[in-house]
Symmetry: C2
Subunit: 316 residues, 2 copies
DNA sequence: TTGAAAGCGCTAACAG
DNA sequence: CTGTTAGCGCTTTCAA
C-alpha cells in the first residue's frame, strides 16, 4: 500500500519513503499495470476512433489533431477503419467495448441505424460529420457546410454555368441529404432549375466519384461539378484529370475539404473548406466534457465550412 | 465457470447449456472484460504505432494498411504521434507499456539511441524505416532505396544536370546517412563531383524542405533537386511552387514516396516510390511472427523502392 | 459436464 | 504514516 500511495501521489506518505520508492521503481523500470486499474473500474483512458479510411487528408489530419489533443489529457487513441462496412463497424465497437474505451468517435456507417449494430455499452458516443438516429444519447461533432455550398453554387451560376452537376453522399446519410438540399437551394437562389440527371448520390467512395464525374460531364453535359464528400472528391478529380478534361475550361470544379495539393493543382482547385483542426478540438472537448451539462446544445457542436474560390471555378 | 467455458468455446459444456448461455449473453449485450483477461497475463491484443505525424500520405497509408491487416488478426492499433520529439516518444512508450501492448511499431526519433529513452519492457519493438541501436532485440521494417536514388541521380545527370541538390534527413539517422551515401554514389557513377553546398541534411521537417529547396536553387544555383525523406518532400515542393519555380524548366525535381497527387502536379512529379502497402504487410508479419525463428534475417525485412520517372525530372 | 478455490495487480476502506 | 483485507472479472487447476 505504501508503494501504491507513494507512486500515485497520495499525501499520506513520508517524503523520504516516497523518494525511495520512486527511485527503486525507476530502477526496475516499473510501470503501473493499466489492466489492474481498469478491472477495478477506474478507466483506462482509451478513446476509439472509427473512420472509413485514413487515406484521405481530411481524416488523417483529423486523427492527427485528435490524437495530439488527447495525449495531453493522458488519453490514448485506438483507430479502427470501417471502410463504411456495417460488419466492420460492429466488430470495432465490440473490440472497443472489450477494452473499456471511455468514448468512441465515429463516422457512422450508412445504415448503422437499422438493427442493433451499435451496441456501445458504457462508451460515450461522438458521431462525426454524419449522424444516425440509432445512437440516442450520443454527442455530435458536425460540419455546417450549407452556406458554403450555396455560395459555391451561386458563384458557378454567376460565371454562366447552367448545367451544374452534384456528386455527393447517399441521402440516407444525414450529411448527404443536407448537402444536397443546400445545393438545390443554391440553384434556386441563382434561378437555375435543378436537373435530376445532374445529381448523383450514393454510398460515398472513390469509385463513385471517379465514374460519376466524367459521366456527368461527357454523357450528361455538365459544365461544372460540385463534390460534397471526402471520399468522393478524390475520385472525381482523378476521373476528370485522367480523361484529360482541363479545369476550368472544360469543366469548372469545386472540391470538398482542402487537401494541401489543391493549391497547386491546375492552378488551384476551388473547394468547400472544412476547418479540420477546429473540428478535432471540438471533438476532444466533447470527449472530456463532464457528464453534468448534458443539455442538447452542449452535446452538439459544429464548425462552419467556407467556400474557397480558386481558379478551377472560373467562368466557361 | 460453465458460463466462461461456454463463451470461450470449450468442448466440455453440454451443447444445450452453451446455447442458453450464449443467448442470454447476447440479450444482455455482454462483452468479455479485456482488462480481466489481461491482468492474468493473457494479452490484450494491442499494438502501438509511433509515427512523427499522420499528415503525410505515406504514413497515413501505412497506418491504414497496418490497422486493416491487424484487425483481421484480432489486434487493435493505438496510434501515438511523436512529432520526432524524444520526450513525446518516451511518454508514448510508457503509455503503451501500461496497457500491455504486445508490440510497438515505431519510427525512432533521432537521438532516441542515447539515454534510456526507450524502456520498452516486454513489448516487441519493430523499428520502421530508420533504426537506432538502442533497441537491441528489435525487429526492423526498412526501405531499400539505394538503387532507386542512384538511378534518379543518374537520370538527372544524363539530362545534363551538373548542379544536383540533395535534401534529406540528418545523417545521425540510419536512413539519412544511407540515402546520402546512395546520392553520392549516384553522382560518382555519373561522373559528377559532389558539392557540399548542394547537400542539406537535418532533422527532417516541412520547414527544412520548404526553406532548403528554394535556397538551394536561388542561392546555390542548383538546377535539380532530390528529396529523400517523407517529411521533407512536401515542404520542398511547396517551397518551389510558392516561389513560382516551374518544373522541370527552372528546376528538375525528384520527390520521395508517391502521394497520389504527384501524377497530376506540374505534369507529373518524378519520385522515389516506396511500396507502402507491402511495407505494412511485412510489418504485420513481423508483429505476428512466433518467437521461434529469431535469426537475424527473420527479424529484418525490407522492401525495395523504385524510381518513377515523370515530367518533373526532364532535361534543362 | 459442472463447480469451488485461488490468484493476476491494484486501491478503497478500514485498522493500527 | 504504514499495513491488512477484500474485491474488481476472468481462467487454470483440481474436485465432484
Amino acid at each position: 500500500m505504501t508503494v501504491s500511495r507513494a507512486l500515485s501521489g497520495s499525501p499520506h506518505v513520508k517524503e523520504e519513503t516516497r523518494k525511495l520508492v520512486k527511485l527503486r521503481a525507476a530502477e526496475l523500470g516499473y510501470v503501473k499495470n493499466a489492466a489492474a486499474t481498469a478491472i477495478r473500474g477506474d478507466g483506462v483512458g482509451i478513446v476509439g476512433l472509427l473512420l472509413p479510411t485514413l487515406v484521405n487528408e481530411f481524416y488523417a489530419r483529423f486523427a492527427d489533431t485528435l490524437a495530439t489533443r488527447l495525449e495531453s489529457a493522458g488519453l490514448q487513441l485506438i483507430i479502427h477503419l470501417t471502410a463504411d462496412k456495417l460488419e466492420q463497424e460492429r466488430r470495432s465497437l465490440l473490440k472497443l467495448r472489450e477494452v473499456q474505451a471511455a468514448a468512441v468517435v465515429m463516422v457512422p456507417t450508412p445504415g448503422s441505424g437499422t438493427g442493433k449494430n451499435g451496441h456501445t455499452g458504457e462508451m460515450r458516443v461522438i458521431q462525426l460529420i454524419r449522424t444516425e438516429k440509432s445512437y440516442p444519447r450520443s454527442y455530435m461533432a458536425l460540419v455546417d457546410d450549407r452556406q458554403a455550398i450555396v455560395k459555391a453554387v451561386r458563384r458557378l451560376a454567376e460565371s454562366g454555368h447552367r448545367r451544374i452537376g452534384y456528386l455527393g453522399g447517399a441521402t440516407l446519410l444525414s450529411s448527404g441529404s443536407e448537402r444536397l438540399s443546400a445545393f438545390i437551394s443554391g440553384l434556386q437562389e441563382a434561378g437555375v432549375d435543378p436537373q435530376p440527371k445532374l445529381i448523383h448520390t450514393g454510398i460515398p467512395s472513390f469509385a463513385m466519384g471517379y465514374e460519376g464525374a466524367s459521366d456527368m460531364v461527357k454523357r450528361d453535359g455538365a459544365t461544372a461539378l460540385i463534390c460534397a464528400g471526402f471520399e468522393v472528391y478524390n475520385g472525381a478529380l482523378n476521373g476528370l484529370l485522367e480523361k484529360d478534361l482541363r479545369l476550368p475550361t472544360e469543366v469548372a470544379f469545386v472540391g470538398y475539404g482542402d487537401p494541401s495539393y489543391y493549391r497547386w493543382l491546375e492552378g488551384g482547385i476551388s473547394t468547400i473548406k472544412i476547418p479540420v483542426e477546429r473540428l478535432a478540438s471540438e471533438t476532444a472537448r466533447l470527449i472530456q466534457t463532464g457528464t453534468k451539462g448534458q443539455d442538447r446544445d452542449v452535446r452538439k457542436r459544429s464548425v462552419r465550412a467556407e467556400f474557397v474560390k480558386r481558379r478551377s471555378c472560373g467562368s466557361l
